[in-house]
Amino acid sequence: MDSELHPFSASVFEQRKLFKEKLARSLMLTAALMLIVPVISIIIYLFVKASPVLSISYIVDDPGPLGKSGGIWLPLMGTFYLVLTSLVIVAPIGILAGIYLNEYAPDNWLTRAIGMAVTSLAGVPSIVHALFGVGAFVLTLGLGKSLLAAACTIAVMTIPVIVTATREALAAVPMQFREACWNMGATKWQTIRTIVLPNSVSGILTGVILEVSRAAGETAPILFTGAAASVAVSTATLDRKLVPYDLDDKFMALSYHLHIVAEKISGMPEEMMFGCAAVLIALILTVNSVSIGLRGWLRSRKKW
Protein backbone atom coordinates (compact mmCIF):
# COMPACT_ATOMS: atom_id res chain seq x y z
CA MET A 1 0.00 0.00 0.00
CA ASP A 2 1.09 3.55 -0.45
CA SER A 3 0.44 4.39 3.16
CA GLU A 4 4.16 4.75 3.61
CA LEU A 5 4.20 7.48 0.98
CA HIS A 6 1.40 9.45 2.60
CA PRO A 7 1.91 9.39 6.34
CA PHE A 8 -1.57 10.82 7.02
CA SER A 9 -3.62 8.41 4.90
CA ALA A 10 -5.65 5.70 6.62
CA SER A 11 -3.83 2.55 7.68
CA VAL A 12 -5.25 -0.87 6.79
CA PHE A 13 -6.68 -1.11 10.26
CA GLU A 14 -8.36 2.26 9.98
CA GLN A 15 -9.67 1.48 6.53
CA ARG A 16 -11.31 -1.67 7.87
CA LYS A 17 -12.81 0.36 10.69
CA LEU A 18 -14.17 2.95 8.28
CA PHE A 19 -15.61 0.23 6.08
CA LYS A 20 -17.37 -1.34 9.07
CA GLU A 21 -18.74 2.04 10.04
CA LYS A 22 -20.10 2.65 6.55
CA LEU A 23 -21.60 -0.84 6.44
CA ALA A 24 -23.32 -0.41 9.82
CA ARG A 25 -24.59 2.99 8.84
CA SER A 26 -26.11 1.82 5.56
CA LEU A 27 -27.62 -1.29 7.21
CA MET A 28 -29.37 0.89 9.77
CA LEU A 29 -30.56 3.32 7.15
CA THR A 30 -31.94 0.32 5.25
CA ALA A 31 -33.80 -0.79 8.38
CA ALA A 32 -35.34 2.65 8.79
CA LEU A 33 -36.35 2.72 5.14
CA MET A 34 -37.73 -0.82 5.34
CA LEU A 35 -40.27 0.47 7.83
CA ILE A 36 -41.29 3.48 5.87
CA VAL A 37 -41.10 2.66 2.16
CA PRO A 38 -43.44 -0.37 2.19
CA VAL A 39 -45.99 1.44 4.33
CA ILE A 40 -46.02 4.51 2.11
CA SER A 41 -46.36 2.37 -1.01
CA ILE A 42 -49.20 0.37 0.57
CA ILE A 43 -51.02 3.57 1.48
CA ILE A 44 -50.61 4.91 -2.07
CA TYR A 45 -51.85 1.56 -3.40
CA LEU A 46 -54.87 1.82 -1.08
CA PHE A 47 -55.77 5.21 -2.47
CA VAL A 48 -55.25 4.14 -6.10
CA LYS A 49 -57.52 1.13 -5.58
CA ALA A 50 -60.07 3.31 -3.81
CA SER A 51 -60.04 6.08 -6.41
CA PRO A 52 -63.00 4.72 -8.47
CA VAL A 53 -65.42 5.28 -5.57
CA LEU A 54 -63.88 8.25 -3.80
CA SER A 55 -66.29 11.09 -4.41
CA ILE A 56 -68.63 13.36 -2.49
CA SER A 57 -71.52 10.98 -3.01
CA TYR A 58 -69.50 8.08 -1.54
CA ILE A 59 -69.09 10.13 1.63
CA VAL A 60 -72.65 11.42 1.97
CA ASP A 61 -74.64 8.39 0.75
CA ASP A 62 -75.93 5.73 3.11
CA PRO A 63 -74.54 2.22 2.62
CA GLY A 64 -76.59 0.03 0.30
CA PRO A 65 -77.65 -3.55 1.11
CA LEU A 66 -74.72 -5.42 2.76
CA GLY A 67 -72.53 -2.40 2.04
CA LYS A 68 -71.96 -3.58 -1.54
CA SER A 69 -73.11 -0.29 -2.99
CA GLY A 70 -73.79 3.25 -1.82
CA GLY A 71 -71.57 5.20 0.51
CA ILE A 72 -70.33 5.38 4.08
CA TRP A 73 -72.34 8.21 5.62
CA LEU A 74 -73.85 6.18 8.48
CA PRO A 75 -70.54 4.59 9.58
CA LEU A 76 -68.81 7.95 9.28
CA MET A 77 -71.40 9.63 11.49
CA GLY A 78 -71.23 6.70 13.91
CA THR A 79 -67.48 7.16 14.27
CA PHE A 80 -67.96 10.92 14.66
CA TYR A 81 -70.49 10.61 17.47
CA LEU A 82 -68.55 7.78 19.12
CA VAL A 83 -65.44 9.97 19.22
CA LEU A 84 -67.41 13.00 20.39
CA THR A 85 -69.19 11.13 23.19
CA SER A 86 -66.03 9.41 24.40
CA LEU A 87 -64.24 12.77 24.34
CA VAL A 88 -66.94 14.43 26.44
CA ILE A 89 -66.51 11.67 29.01
CA VAL A 90 -62.74 11.25 29.04
CA ALA A 91 -61.45 14.80 28.49
CA PRO A 92 -62.54 16.24 31.89
CA ILE A 93 -61.48 13.14 33.84
CA GLY A 94 -58.16 12.82 32.01
CA ILE A 95 -57.21 16.50 32.19
CA LEU A 96 -58.16 16.80 35.86
CA ALA A 97 -56.25 13.60 36.64
CA GLY A 98 -53.22 15.06 34.85
CA ILE A 99 -53.57 18.26 36.93
CA TYR A 100 -53.81 16.19 40.09
CA LEU A 101 -50.71 14.14 39.27
CA ASN A 102 -48.56 17.12 38.35
CA GLU A 103 -49.81 19.83 40.71
CA TYR A 104 -51.40 18.26 43.78
CA ALA A 105 -50.12 14.73 44.22
CA PRO A 106 -47.61 14.32 47.05
CA ASP A 107 -44.70 11.97 46.42
CA ASN A 108 -46.07 8.93 48.23
CA TRP A 109 -47.25 5.37 47.66
CA LEU A 110 -50.72 6.50 46.54
CA THR A 111 -49.31 8.64 43.74
CA ARG A 112 -47.04 5.81 42.65
CA ALA A 113 -50.06 3.51 42.66
CA ILE A 114 -51.97 5.97 40.45
CA GLY A 115 -49.03 6.13 38.06
CA MET A 116 -48.94 2.36 37.93
CA ALA A 117 -52.71 2.25 37.35
CA VAL A 118 -52.37 4.61 34.37
CA THR A 119 -49.61 2.39 32.95
CA SER A 120 -51.73 -0.71 33.48
CA LEU A 121 -54.73 0.89 31.76
CA ALA A 122 -52.51 1.59 28.76
CA GLY A 123 -51.32 -2.00 28.79
CA VAL A 124 -54.71 -3.72 28.98
CA PRO A 125 -55.41 -5.27 25.55
CA SER A 126 -58.25 -3.64 23.65
CA ILE A 127 -60.27 -6.84 23.53
CA VAL A 128 -60.11 -7.06 27.34
CA HIS A 129 -61.43 -3.50 27.47
CA ALA A 130 -64.28 -4.80 25.31
CA LEU A 131 -65.00 -7.58 27.83
CA PHE A 132 -64.92 -5.00 30.63
CA GLY A 133 -67.34 -2.85 28.65
CA VAL A 134 -69.74 -5.78 28.37
CA GLY A 135 -69.56 -6.57 32.09
CA ALA A 136 -69.66 -3.00 33.40
CA PHE A 137 -71.54 -0.79 30.96
CA VAL A 138 -73.71 -3.10 28.84
CA LEU A 139 -74.85 -5.40 31.65
CA THR A 140 -74.28 -3.91 35.12
CA LEU A 141 -75.13 -0.30 34.31
CA GLY A 142 -77.84 -1.55 31.97
CA LEU A 143 -76.84 0.64 29.03
CA GLY A 144 -77.30 -2.27 26.63
CA LYS A 145 -75.38 -2.42 23.39
CA SER A 146 -75.40 1.25 22.58
CA LEU A 147 -73.42 4.26 21.47
CA LEU A 148 -73.08 5.33 25.10
CA ALA A 149 -71.77 1.95 26.29
CA ALA A 150 -69.20 1.88 23.46
CA ALA A 151 -68.15 5.47 24.15
CA CYS A 152 -67.67 4.69 27.87
CA THR A 153 -65.51 1.69 26.96
CA ILE A 154 -63.39 3.79 24.59
CA ALA A 155 -63.17 6.52 27.24
CA VAL A 156 -61.72 4.19 29.87
CA MET A 157 -59.28 2.83 27.31
CA THR A 158 -58.01 6.26 26.27
CA ILE A 159 -57.62 7.81 29.75
CA PRO A 160 -53.83 7.19 29.72
CA VAL A 161 -53.44 9.12 26.45
CA ILE A 162 -54.91 12.31 27.92
CA VAL A 163 -53.44 11.92 31.41
CA THR A 164 -49.92 11.45 30.06
CA ALA A 165 -50.16 14.36 27.60
CA THR A 166 -51.62 16.71 30.25
CA ARG A 167 -49.01 15.73 32.79
CA GLU A 168 -46.18 16.39 30.34
CA ALA A 169 -47.68 19.71 29.24
CA LEU A 170 -48.01 20.89 32.85
CA ALA A 171 -44.54 19.68 33.77
CA ALA A 172 -43.12 21.81 30.95
CA VAL A 173 -44.32 25.01 32.64
CA PRO A 174 -41.33 26.27 34.66
CA MET A 175 -41.61 26.15 38.45
CA GLN A 176 -40.63 29.85 38.70
CA PHE A 177 -43.97 30.82 37.08
CA ARG A 178 -45.84 29.14 39.90
CA GLU A 179 -43.53 30.50 42.59
CA ALA A 180 -43.93 34.06 41.32
CA CYS A 181 -47.69 33.66 41.40
CA TRP A 182 -47.73 32.16 44.91
CA ASN A 183 -45.57 35.02 46.11
CA MET A 184 -48.27 37.43 44.94
CA GLY A 185 -50.63 35.70 47.35
CA ALA A 186 -52.49 33.55 44.85
CA THR A 187 -53.86 30.20 46.00
CA LYS A 188 -52.93 26.95 44.35
CA TRP A 189 -56.07 26.83 42.23
CA GLN A 190 -55.75 30.50 41.20
CA THR A 191 -52.20 29.78 40.09
CA ILE A 192 -53.26 26.74 38.08
CA ARG A 193 -56.19 28.57 36.50
CA THR A 194 -54.45 31.79 35.55
CA ILE A 195 -50.80 30.76 35.01
CA VAL A 196 -50.31 27.01 34.55
CA LEU A 197 -53.27 26.11 32.32
CA PRO A 198 -52.97 29.02 29.84
CA ASN A 199 -49.29 28.17 29.39
CA SER A 200 -49.95 24.50 28.74
CA VAL A 201 -53.26 24.51 26.89
CA SER A 202 -51.78 23.59 23.50
CA GLY A 203 -49.89 20.66 24.98
CA ILE A 204 -53.11 19.41 26.53
CA LEU A 205 -54.82 19.90 23.18
CA THR A 206 -52.26 17.62 21.52
CA GLY A 207 -53.27 14.88 23.94
CA VAL A 208 -56.94 15.44 23.20
CA ILE A 209 -56.29 15.21 19.45
CA LEU A 210 -54.37 11.96 19.96
CA GLU A 211 -57.35 10.59 21.87
CA VAL A 212 -59.57 11.44 18.90
CA SER A 213 -57.28 9.52 16.56
CA ARG A 214 -57.17 6.49 18.88
CA ALA A 215 -60.92 6.47 19.39
CA ALA A 216 -61.65 6.78 15.67
CA GLY A 217 -59.49 3.80 14.74
CA GLU A 218 -60.37 1.33 17.48
CA THR A 219 -62.47 -1.67 16.55
CA ALA A 220 -62.10 -4.33 19.23
CA PRO A 221 -63.61 -2.32 22.14
CA ILE A 222 -66.80 -1.56 20.22
CA LEU A 223 -67.28 -5.12 18.90
CA PHE A 224 -69.54 -6.29 21.73
CA THR A 225 -70.58 -2.96 23.17
CA GLY A 226 -72.68 -1.40 20.45
CA ALA A 227 -71.25 -1.51 16.92
CA ALA A 228 -73.60 -3.02 14.35
CA ALA A 229 -73.07 -4.29 10.82
CA SER A 230 -76.13 -2.39 9.69
CA VAL A 231 -78.75 -0.22 11.32
CA ALA A 232 -82.32 0.55 10.43
CA VAL A 233 -82.08 4.31 10.45
CA SER A 234 -83.95 6.46 8.02
CA THR A 235 -81.96 9.49 7.01
CA ALA A 236 -84.73 11.07 4.98
CA THR A 237 -84.94 14.26 7.02
CA LEU A 238 -82.02 16.59 7.49
CA ASP A 239 -81.82 16.28 11.28
CA ARG A 240 -81.81 12.47 11.08
CA LYS A 241 -79.12 12.78 8.44
CA LEU A 242 -76.93 14.87 10.74
CA VAL A 243 -77.73 13.02 13.96
CA PRO A 244 -78.65 9.48 12.92
CA TYR A 245 -78.12 7.89 16.34
CA ASP A 246 -79.41 8.38 19.85
CA LEU A 247 -77.16 7.55 22.78
CA ASP A 248 -78.97 4.25 23.36
CA ASP A 249 -78.94 3.16 19.71
CA LYS A 250 -76.66 0.63 18.16
CA PHE A 251 -74.49 2.32 15.60
CA MET A 252 -72.27 1.71 12.60
CA ALA A 253 -68.60 2.77 12.74
CA LEU A 254 -66.02 3.13 9.99
CA SER A 255 -63.56 0.70 11.56
CA TYR A 256 -66.17 -2.00 12.15
CA HIS A 257 -67.72 -1.36 8.73
CA LEU A 258 -64.30 -1.96 7.16
CA HIS A 259 -64.01 -5.25 9.05
CA ILE A 260 -67.45 -6.34 7.83
CA VAL A 261 -67.01 -5.39 4.17
CA ALA A 262 -63.48 -6.82 4.03
CA GLU A 263 -64.00 -10.13 5.75
CA LYS A 264 -67.58 -11.07 6.32
CA ILE A 265 -69.37 -10.59 3.00
CA SER A 266 -68.43 -12.54 -0.09
CA GLY A 267 -68.60 -10.93 -3.51
CA MET A 268 -67.82 -7.51 -2.12
CA PRO A 269 -66.73 -5.09 -4.87
CA GLU A 270 -63.05 -4.38 -4.23
CA GLU A 271 -63.32 -0.60 -4.48
CA MET A 272 -65.97 -0.53 -1.73
CA MET A 273 -63.58 -1.92 0.86
CA PHE A 274 -60.58 0.04 -0.38
CA GLY A 275 -62.70 3.20 -0.29
CA CYS A 276 -63.63 2.62 3.34
CA ALA A 277 -60.02 1.87 4.30
CA ALA A 278 -58.78 4.96 2.45
CA VAL A 279 -61.27 7.27 4.17
CA LEU A 280 -60.42 5.86 7.61
CA ILE A 281 -56.69 6.15 7.11
CA ALA A 282 -56.95 9.64 5.60
CA LEU A 283 -59.00 10.73 8.60
CA ILE A 284 -56.53 9.37 11.12
CA LEU A 285 -53.40 10.62 9.37
CA THR A 286 -54.97 14.09 9.08
CA VAL A 287 -55.84 14.21 12.77
CA ASN A 288 -52.33 13.07 13.71
CA SER A 289 -50.66 15.54 11.35
CA VAL A 290 -52.64 18.34 12.98
CA SER A 291 -51.37 17.19 16.36
CA ILE A 292 -47.75 17.02 15.14
CA GLY A 293 -48.04 20.42 13.44
CA LEU A 294 -49.51 21.97 16.56
CA ARG A 295 -46.65 20.62 18.63
CA GLY A 296 -44.05 22.00 16.22
CA TRP A 297 -45.72 25.41 16.14
CA LEU A 298 -45.80 25.38 19.90
CA ARG A 299 -42.11 24.64 20.23
CA SER A 300 -41.23 27.44 17.84
CA ARG A 301 -43.27 29.90 19.92
CA LYS A 302 -42.03 28.84 23.31
CA LYS A 303 -40.82 31.88 25.23
CA TRP A 304 -38.90 30.13 27.97
Binding site: E21, Y45, I93, V156, G217
Partner: protein
Protein backbone atom coordinates in the same frame (compact mmCIF):
# COMPACT_ATOMS: atom_id res chain seq x y z
CA UNK B 1 -68.42 51.03 28.38
CA UNK B 2 -68.51 47.60 26.76
CA UNK B 3 -64.95 46.94 27.81
CA UNK B 4 -65.82 47.91 31.38
CA UNK B 5 -68.77 45.58 31.32
CA UNK B 6 -66.79 42.54 30.11
CA UNK B 7 -64.04 43.15 32.64
CA UNK B 8 -66.69 43.39 35.36
CA UNK B 9 -68.16 40.07 34.22
CA UNK B 10 -64.67 38.60 34.18
CA UNK B 11 -64.04 39.80 37.71
CA UNK B 12 -67.30 38.31 38.98
CA UNK B 13 -66.77 34.98 37.24
CA UNK B 14 -63.17 34.70 38.41
CA UNK B 15 -64.28 35.47 41.95
CA UNK B 16 -66.85 32.69 41.61
CA UNK B 17 -64.14 30.34 40.32
CA UNK B 18 -61.92 31.26 43.27
CA UNK B 19 -64.70 30.61 45.77
CA UNK B 20 -65.28 27.22 44.21
CA UNK B 21 -61.72 26.20 45.06
CA UNK B 22 -62.60 23.55 47.69
CA UNK B 23 -65.16 21.99 45.35
CA UNK B 24 -62.78 22.03 42.39
CA UNK B 25 -60.00 20.56 44.48
CA UNK B 26 -62.34 17.73 45.42
CA UNK B 27 -63.15 17.03 41.77
CA UNK B 28 -59.47 17.10 40.84
CA UNK B 29 -58.58 14.65 43.63
CA UNK B 30 -61.36 12.27 42.62
CA UNK B 31 -60.33 12.39 38.95
CA UNK B 32 -56.75 11.74 39.98
CA UNK B 33 -57.69 8.66 41.93
CA UNK B 34 -60.13 7.43 39.27
CA UNK B 35 -57.46 5.55 37.33
CA UNK B 36 -57.01 3.18 40.26
CA UNK B 37 -60.76 2.76 40.39
CA UNK B 38 -60.92 1.86 36.70
CA UNK B 39 -58.14 -0.72 36.96
CA UNK B 40 -59.84 -2.32 39.95
CA UNK B 41 -63.15 -2.20 38.07
CA UNK B 42 -61.63 -3.93 35.04
CA UNK B 43 -60.32 -6.79 37.18
CA UNK B 44 -63.58 -6.94 39.14
CA UNK B 45 -65.93 -7.13 36.16
CA UNK B 46 -63.81 -9.59 34.16
CA UNK B 47 -63.64 -11.87 37.20
CA UNK B 48 -67.31 -11.34 37.95
CA UNK B 49 -68.40 -12.53 34.51
CA UNK B 50 -66.09 -15.55 34.68
CA UNK B 51 -66.68 -16.29 38.38
CA UNK B 52 -69.23 -19.15 38.19
CA UNK B 53 -66.88 -21.26 36.07
CA UNK B 54 -63.53 -20.44 37.70
CA UNK B 55 -63.83 -23.25 40.24
CA UNK B 56 -65.00 -25.73 37.62
CA UNK B 57 -62.38 -25.17 34.94
CA UNK B 58 -60.15 -28.17 34.33
CA UNK B 59 -56.91 -26.16 34.28
CA UNK B 60 -54.86 -29.13 33.14
CA UNK B 61 -57.06 -29.43 30.09
CA UNK B 62 -57.14 -25.65 29.57
CA UNK B 63 -53.37 -25.20 29.46
CA UNK B 64 -52.15 -28.48 28.00
CA UNK B 65 -54.75 -29.90 25.66
CA UNK B 66 -55.51 -28.70 22.17
CA UNK B 67 -59.25 -29.41 22.01
CA UNK B 68 -61.31 -26.23 21.85
CA UNK B 69 -64.81 -27.50 21.03
CA UNK B 70 -67.29 -25.07 22.60
CA UNK B 71 -70.22 -26.17 20.45
CA UNK B 72 -69.96 -29.97 20.21
CA UNK B 73 -72.19 -32.25 18.19
CA UNK B 74 -75.39 -33.43 19.86
CA UNK B 75 -74.70 -35.71 22.85
CA UNK B 76 -71.00 -34.83 23.22
CA UNK B 77 -69.44 -32.76 25.95
CA UNK B 78 -67.90 -29.38 25.19
CA UNK B 79 -64.11 -29.19 25.48
CA UNK B 80 -62.10 -26.18 26.50
CA UNK B 81 -58.49 -27.18 25.92
CA UNK B 82 -56.83 -23.91 24.95
CA UNK B 83 -53.26 -25.10 24.32
CA UNK B 84 -53.59 -24.49 20.58
CA UNK B 85 -54.88 -20.98 21.19
CA UNK B 86 -52.11 -20.22 23.69
CA UNK B 87 -49.61 -21.54 21.15
CA UNK B 88 -51.07 -19.21 18.49
CA UNK B 89 -50.53 -16.13 20.66
CA UNK B 90 -47.07 -17.38 21.66
CA UNK B 91 -46.01 -18.09 18.07
CA UNK B 92 -47.21 -14.73 16.73
CA UNK B 93 -45.46 -12.97 19.62
CA UNK B 94 -42.14 -14.77 19.07
CA UNK B 95 -42.07 -14.40 15.28
CA UNK B 96 -43.21 -10.77 15.29
CA UNK B 97 -40.66 -9.89 17.99
CA UNK B 98 -37.93 -11.55 15.93
CA UNK B 99 -38.89 -9.29 13.03
CA UNK B 100 -39.62 -6.13 15.01
CA UNK B 101 -36.70 -6.09 17.44
CA UNK B 102 -33.74 -5.91 15.03
CA UNK B 103 -35.56 -3.51 12.70
CA UNK B 104 -36.74 -1.34 15.57
CA UNK B 105 -33.35 -1.16 17.28
CA UNK B 106 -31.56 -0.45 14.01
CA UNK B 107 -33.98 2.32 13.08
CA UNK B 108 -33.70 3.79 16.58
CA UNK B 109 -29.89 3.80 16.42
CA UNK B 110 -29.97 5.40 12.98
CA UNK B 111 -32.38 8.12 14.09
CA UNK B 112 -30.67 8.79 17.39
CA UNK B 113 -26.96 8.51 16.43
CA UNK B 114 -26.49 8.87 12.68
CA UNK B 115 -29.29 10.97 11.21
CA UNK B 116 -29.12 14.73 11.61
CA UNK B 117 -31.23 17.79 10.90
CA UNK B 118 -34.12 17.44 8.45
CA UNK B 119 -33.63 13.71 7.86
CA UNK B 120 -33.90 13.03 11.58
CA UNK B 121 -37.02 15.17 12.01
CA UNK B 122 -38.71 13.62 8.97
CA UNK B 123 -37.96 10.06 10.10
CA UNK B 124 -39.30 10.80 13.57
CA UNK B 125 -42.54 12.24 12.19
CA UNK B 126 -42.99 9.31 9.80
CA UNK B 127 -42.47 6.79 12.62
CA UNK B 128 -45.03 8.67 14.69
CA UNK B 129 -47.56 8.54 11.86
CA UNK B 130 -46.79 4.84 11.45
CA UNK B 131 -47.76 4.37 15.09
CA UNK B 132 -51.11 6.02 14.43
CA UNK B 133 -52.28 3.52 11.81
CA UNK B 134 -55.05 1.56 13.56
CA UNK B 135 -55.02 -2.21 13.87
CA UNK B 136 -58.08 -2.67 11.65
CA UNK B 137 -56.08 -1.15 8.76
CA UNK B 138 -53.24 -3.63 9.41
CA UNK B 139 -55.80 -6.42 9.46
CA UNK B 140 -57.18 -5.20 6.16
CA UNK B 141 -53.69 -4.96 4.63
CA UNK B 142 -52.88 -8.46 5.86
CA UNK B 143 -56.09 -9.93 4.51
CA UNK B 144 -56.42 -8.13 1.18
CA UNK B 145 -52.86 -7.15 0.16
CA UNK B 146 -50.35 -9.33 2.04
CA UNK B 147 -52.46 -12.51 1.82
CA UNK B 148 -52.40 -12.77 -1.99
CA UNK B 149 -48.68 -11.86 -2.04
CA UNK B 150 -47.85 -14.70 0.38
CA UNK B 151 -50.10 -17.06 -1.62
CA UNK B 152 -48.14 -16.39 -4.81
CA UNK B 153 -44.70 -16.19 -3.22
CA UNK B 154 -44.88 -19.49 -1.36
CA UNK B 155 -47.44 -21.20 -3.55
CA UNK B 156 -49.84 -21.98 -0.68
CA UNK B 157 -53.62 -22.21 -0.67
CA UNK B 158 -54.32 -19.62 1.99
CA UNK B 159 -52.36 -16.41 2.48
CA UNK B 160 -53.54 -15.65 6.02
CA UNK B 161 -51.23 -17.49 8.39
CA UNK B 162 -48.61 -17.16 11.12
CA UNK B 163 -46.19 -15.29 8.86
CA UNK B 164 -48.79 -12.78 7.68
CA UNK B 165 -50.12 -12.04 11.18
CA UNK B 166 -46.60 -11.73 12.59
CA UNK B 167 -45.58 -9.28 9.87
CA UNK B 168 -48.61 -7.08 10.57
CA UNK B 169 -48.07 -7.20 14.33
CA UNK B 170 -44.36 -6.45 13.83
CA UNK B 171 -45.20 -3.31 11.90
CA UNK B 172 -47.55 -2.27 14.70
CA UNK B 173 -44.95 -2.91 17.40
CA UNK B 174 -41.97 -1.29 15.63
CA UNK B 175 -42.94 2.39 16.15
CA UNK B 176 -43.29 1.70 19.88
CA UNK B 177 -39.93 -0.08 20.01
CA UNK B 178 -38.26 2.71 18.02
CA UNK B 179 -39.52 5.53 20.22
CA UNK B 180 -38.76 3.81 23.54
CA UNK B 181 -35.28 2.68 22.48
CA UNK B 182 -34.54 6.11 21.04
CA UNK B 183 -35.40 7.60 24.44
CA UNK B 184 -33.12 5.03 26.08
CA UNK B 185 -30.21 5.90 23.75
CA UNK B 186 -30.75 9.63 24.28
CA UNK B 187 -30.66 9.12 28.05
CA UNK B 188 -27.01 7.97 27.80
CA UNK B 189 -24.93 11.04 28.71
CA UNK B 190 -22.94 12.62 25.88
CA UNK B 191 -19.77 12.36 27.97
CA UNK B 192 -19.82 8.58 27.35
CA UNK B 193 -19.85 9.16 23.58
CA UNK B 194 -17.18 11.86 23.78
CA UNK B 195 -14.88 9.69 25.89
CA UNK B 196 -15.14 6.82 23.41
CA UNK B 197 -14.65 9.07 20.39
CA UNK B 198 -11.61 10.67 22.03
CA UNK B 199 -10.09 7.21 22.42
CA UNK B 200 -10.39 6.76 18.66
CA UNK B 201 -13.58 4.70 18.45
CA UNK B 202 -15.63 4.98 15.27
CA UNK B 203 -19.29 5.92 15.59
CA UNK B 204 -20.37 2.33 15.12
CA UNK B 205 -17.96 1.20 17.85
CA UNK B 206 -19.46 3.81 20.13
CA UNK B 207 -22.90 2.38 19.43
CA UNK B 208 -22.22 -1.26 20.09
CA UNK B 209 -19.45 -1.05 22.67
CA UNK B 210 -20.69 1.94 24.70
CA UNK B 211 -24.33 2.79 24.00
CA UNK B 212 -25.77 -0.73 23.85
CA UNK B 213 -24.33 -1.75 27.25
CA UNK B 214 -25.25 1.61 28.79
CA UNK B 215 -28.81 1.60 27.46
CA UNK B 216 -29.47 -2.12 27.76
CA UNK B 217 -32.28 -1.77 30.32
CA UNK B 218 -34.14 0.73 28.17
CA UNK B 219 -33.73 -1.42 25.09
CA UNK B 220 -35.01 -4.40 27.06
CA UNK B 221 -38.05 -2.38 28.16
CA UNK B 222 -38.68 -1.39 24.54
CA UNK B 223 -38.60 -5.01 23.45
CA UNK B 224 -40.92 -5.98 26.30
CA UNK B 225 -43.46 -3.32 25.39
CA UNK B 226 -43.31 -4.66 21.83
CA UNK B 227 -44.07 -8.13 23.17
CA UNK B 228 -46.98 -6.75 25.20
CA UNK B 229 -48.36 -5.09 22.09
CA UNK B 230 -48.10 -8.37 20.17
CA UNK B 231 -49.86 -10.40 22.86
CA UNK B 232 -52.76 -7.96 23.15
CA UNK B 233 -53.23 -7.09 19.49
CA UNK B 234 -56.68 -8.10 18.25
CA UNK B 235 -57.96 -6.97 14.86
CA UNK B 236 -54.76 -7.45 12.82
CA UNK B 237 -54.24 -10.88 14.37
CA UNK B 238 -57.85 -11.88 13.86
CA UNK B 239 -57.97 -10.96 10.18
CA UNK B 240 -54.47 -12.06 9.14
CA UNK B 241 -53.86 -15.27 11.09
CA UNK B 242 -56.37 -17.69 9.61
CA UNK B 243 -58.15 -18.64 12.84
CA UNK B 244 -57.44 -22.37 13.14
CA UNK B 245 -55.79 -23.74 16.25
CA UNK B 246 -52.82 -25.78 15.25
CA UNK B 247 -49.84 -27.07 17.20
CA UNK B 248 -47.03 -28.17 14.90
CA UNK B 249 -45.03 -31.30 15.72
CA UNK B 250 -41.69 -29.66 15.07
CA UNK B 251 -41.53 -26.01 16.06
CA UNK B 252 -38.15 -25.51 14.38
CA UNK B 253 -39.46 -26.36 10.92
CA UNK B 254 -39.80 -23.05 9.00
CA UNK B 255 -42.89 -24.42 7.22
CA UNK B 256 -44.93 -23.69 10.35
CA UNK B 257 -44.76 -20.02 9.34
CA UNK B 258 -47.24 -20.82 6.58
CA UNK B 259 -49.70 -22.62 8.83
CA UNK B 260 -52.84 -20.98 10.09
CA UNK B 261 -52.97 -20.14 13.80
CA UNK B 262 -55.55 -18.82 16.23
CA UNK B 263 -54.66 -16.34 18.97
CA UNK B 264 -56.33 -15.68 22.34
CA UNK B 265 -57.50 -12.20 21.36
CA UNK B 266 -58.92 -13.43 18.06
CA UNK B 267 -60.73 -16.27 19.84
CA UNK B 268 -62.55 -13.84 22.11
CA UNK B 269 -63.33 -11.44 19.26
CA UNK B 270 -64.64 -14.07 16.87
CA UNK B 271 -66.57 -16.34 19.26
CA UNK B 272 -68.32 -13.86 21.53
CA UNK B 273 -71.23 -13.48 19.14
CA UNK B 274 -71.92 -17.26 19.27
CA UNK B 275 -72.46 -17.21 23.02
CA UNK B 276 -75.35 -16.32 25.25
CA UNK B 277 -74.77 -14.30 28.40
CA UNK B 278 -73.89 -16.65 31.23
CA UNK B 279 -73.35 -19.89 29.30
CA UNK B 280 -70.15 -21.92 29.65
CA UNK B 281 -68.59 -20.74 26.40
CA UNK B 282 -69.20 -17.09 27.33
CA UNK B 283 -67.51 -17.57 30.68
CA UNK B 284 -64.57 -19.44 29.14
CA UNK B 285 -63.94 -16.47 26.84
CA UNK B 286 -63.73 -14.31 29.96
CA UNK B 287 -61.26 -16.83 31.42
CA UNK B 288 -59.07 -16.29 28.33
CA UNK B 289 -59.52 -12.56 28.97
CA UNK B 290 -58.20 -13.00 32.53
CA UNK B 291 -55.07 -14.78 31.27
CA UNK B 292 -54.52 -12.03 28.66
CA UNK B 293 -55.07 -9.28 31.22
CA UNK B 294 -52.48 -10.71 33.61
CA UNK B 295 -49.83 -11.24 30.93
CA UNK B 296 -50.19 -7.72 29.53
CA UNK B 297 -50.41 -5.85 32.84
CA UNK B 298 -47.34 -7.64 34.22
CA UNK B 299 -45.33 -6.90 31.06
CA UNK B 300 -46.35 -3.23 31.07
CA UNK B 301 -45.74 -2.59 34.75
CA UNK B 302 -42.29 -4.21 34.69
CA UNK B 303 -41.14 -2.32 31.61
CA UNK B 304 -42.53 0.92 33.05
CA UNK B 305 -40.53 0.40 36.25
CA UNK B 306 -37.41 -0.19 34.16
CA UNK B 307 -38.00 3.01 32.16
CA UNK B 308 -38.69 5.06 35.30
CA UNK B 309 -35.55 3.64 36.91
CA UNK B 310 -33.52 4.88 33.94
CA UNK B 311 -35.06 8.34 34.13
CA UNK B 312 -34.24 8.59 37.83
CA UNK B 313 -30.66 7.44 37.33
CA UNK B 314 -29.93 10.09 34.73
CA UNK B 315 -31.80 13.06 36.15
Amino acid sequence: MAAGKTSAIKAVSSRALDRAEPLIRGVIYISGWSSILFVVAIFFFIFKEAAPILTKVDWGEFFFENRWIPNPAEGNEANYGAAGILYGTFAITVVSTMIAMPLGFAAAVYISEFATGKVKETLKVLIELLAAIPSIIWGFIGLVIMGPIIQKLFDVEVGVNLLNASLMVAFMAIPLIVSISEDALRAVPDSYREAALALGASKWEVVYKVLFPAAKNGLLAAAMLGVGRAVGETMAVWMASGGTENIPGNVLNPAILLERVKAMTATIASEMKDTAHGDEHYMMLFVIGIVLLFICVVINVISDLVIKGIKKKHS
